[in-house]
Symmetry: C2
Subunit: 220 residues, 2 copies
Amino acid sequence: MTPASARGSAPPEPAGAAGDVAGPAPARRPGRPRSEQADRAILGAALRLLAVEGAGAFSMEAVAAEAGVGKTTVYRRWSSKGELIGAALELLRPPGPPEDAGSFEADLEAFGRGQGGRARDTGLADLLPRFGVAALGDPELRPLVIERVVGPVRAILAEIVRRGIDRGELTPGVDVEQAVDLLHGTTIYRILLSETDLGGADRTIAALGRTLREGLGNPG
Amino acid sequence: MTPASARGSAPPEPAGAAGDVAGPAPARRPGRPRSEQADRAILGAALRLLAVEGAGAFSMEAVAAEAGVGKTTVYRRWSSKGELIGAALELLRPPGPPEDAGSFEADLEAFGRGQGGRARDTGLADLLPRFGVAALGDPELRPLVIERVVGPVRAILAEIVRRGIDRGELTPGVDVEQAVDLLHGTTIYRILLSETDLGGADRTIAALGRTLREGLGNPG
DNA sequence: CGGTTTCGCTACGACTTCGTATCGAAACCA
DNA sequence: TGGTTTCGATACGAAGTCGTAGCGAAACCG
């Protein structure tokens, strides 16, 4: 019930990801190492359960069973429900600043493809957005989702809108926040309503952008 | 867990609402009549709980306690969780066809005011949208919400968009469904993100309409 | 090999939830 | 008054959940 304070109890360190040159030795701990496969299985099960079955079906026991893992193995990594969800939420965090793709719609399409593609890499493709929405519906998790996911996504979209203004594709008077509301809101809305094939929702963001530009822009 | 088949087990009949002229006598039943105040208290408590505390805190016992009512009194009316939520959902159903307010933005503002005003009448003002979103996040309830709430609202918004086209405010080529996505999606998105004062979200729909019109319309 | 940690599994106590049953009291009608 | 239904309160069995603890086995290191 505690809102996932995200304490560093046991972050699944890659133990050697960037430890090539700097810092002391990765401090190889004695004993059997933690299974990274279990990490993935647990996170994946958590995602699947909350996204597909809903908050009602989300329990630590169900996660463990779905992941084919003992309950102990789950609690050793995340000591409560909130922490586990918080960790899974991290998968939704968008990547760094977007690269300039040349035009407003191209930027949007690149962003959409990046989001969808990243999700597809994890093998959980279409579950992530629904997962985010489900978490957003929970009053305890909402602040976390807004801070870690919605905020960063909005920042990226705002940057894309600002670029459009700089390029002269959008009129300078455009309300950036409102434009972001339209872009992100409509995308999430479609994810929310779609019963299947969530992947498509992201991809249509470019078409959305065109409609908005023809509105927000001044072709004359 | 059953998705609220909405059987007519005991619909809280006003018992005399439209029974002035037509039909046989309202069939006054013997015994103590059901308390309409209990009806309102239960529905209100259900709304409050799901909207404010979230799906996790929603239990029949919590509803009964919040309503200051015995559990029996709840189950006598709605025999399961799903049925109760389904009934509360009914409060979100938009009214009939909207009246022509003269312009696209006026139509939108009238619609927004109608939605907000109706909610305010029930004394539950800002809770209803959040309640809808919370219910939308539940896989079991989503189809119900879409059918009874989202669909009708979309129909109204589509009608408003079509009127805008007929009036020449919007270009004839406008994709009505996409425009509705933008209007409804952005509105729901704002409700979803707002931590407080949900009432404002509906009211800004007119401003949203203006932005869209300047995009969707052809001023040249 | 011993030492250490994680593995999956099972069981535990405390708690909550569901939906039902029972209780005496209250509210209505004939 | 008697008959009927609802009222709030309480208790119930069955089921699920949380987070912890113990088990023997496996996986690593020195």
